[in-house]
Symmetry: C2
Amino acid sequence: MPKRRKPAGARGISEKKELLNTFLKEWGLKSTRQRDIIVTEFLKTGGHITAEDIYRKISKKHQDIGFTTVYRTLKLLVKSRLATERVFADNLTRYEPLSAEDHHDHLICLGCGSITEFENARMERLQEKIARESGFNTVAHKMELYGYCGRCGSGSRGGKKQPGTKKNAPAPQKNRNNR
Amino acid sequence: MPKRRKPAGARGISEKKELLNTFLKEWGLKSTRQRDIIVTEFLKTGGHITAEDIYRKISKKHQDIGFTTVYRTLKLLVKSRLATERVFADNLTRYEPLSAEDHHDHLICLGCGSITEFENARMERLQEKIARESGFNTVAHKMELYGYCGRCGSGSRGGKKQPGTKKNAPAPQKNRNNR
DNA sequence: ATGCATGCAAATCCTTTGCAACGAA
DNA sequence: TTCGTTGCAAAGGATTTGCATGCAT
């Protein structure tokens, strides 16, 4: 019943870039080489990516693009409603492409750090119901399931770690600074 | 159906302090005046409290207790399993008393910043089911509903703010540093 | 030419650590 | 006396900001 979502951002990259350009024009903002590179990389990757991920990827080819610009561009994407920010248990801000009325939650593997999206209508309804019964008016929700994916088993075997640095490994508690 | 939980920590403060002392003894750790003060305040307040909240409260009477000690004591409570850490959308680490097999989620008001706990068995079952169907082995979950409580209405009226500083107001996006 | 964008360095913010002085056992 | 504790100051780490310079429009 929970339906796995198709990888966001796989299709329609150029359409999204078009949307961004429209947004920029409307607000009298400028379209620059850096923004194009960053946005392209962001859309190509698809989702759940940190500012540092993007910075690392693009700085191989473009050593002249600064960390700051990556952050600023990502914020810009959020403002233009092409992306949303998410913070999982590792306390790193991740960005993912936003497709309008997109509404989904996450399964996060504590073994390999992979993040899988899912959506479940029954869950949504239940959330609404709970909120209503408490006199709440829901604006947003956040639901994350932490555990071990099929590949990583129950955690005893450890699973295969992703190549990234420590920052890519979500921790049961918090492993970042923890800032 | 969602059942509101009774305010944790209202009862059994001395029993909990006893548990902590036992823990300290078992590990060859020491029982100090500062720890006692901090833990008492923590248990008295009940839950969803930040290190700064506690620091502010106790430093009125005890100007000699440092921020660092508050942090360290809170971490100690987590290790001794008397408390858990939680991070909501404002990115501040909050602590709440842990009663063994406690399992609940949160409703967070964007108006007044109040945090209400709830638990719902159907929700738990649904979460398990979703995880299982995706080949996941769930270890923990996190579910937060953001919105406006009965008192704060739909947000247009703003609601009554809590006395605290800006840090007490959860933001739709993030309002802390952010970090 | 304007004025938004960029990059660097410096600043923030929360949280943690190093270290010398303290104090519980 | 012996170590764990404390407080302060400083370090850390992710993210943001100030400012002079650069570059779309």
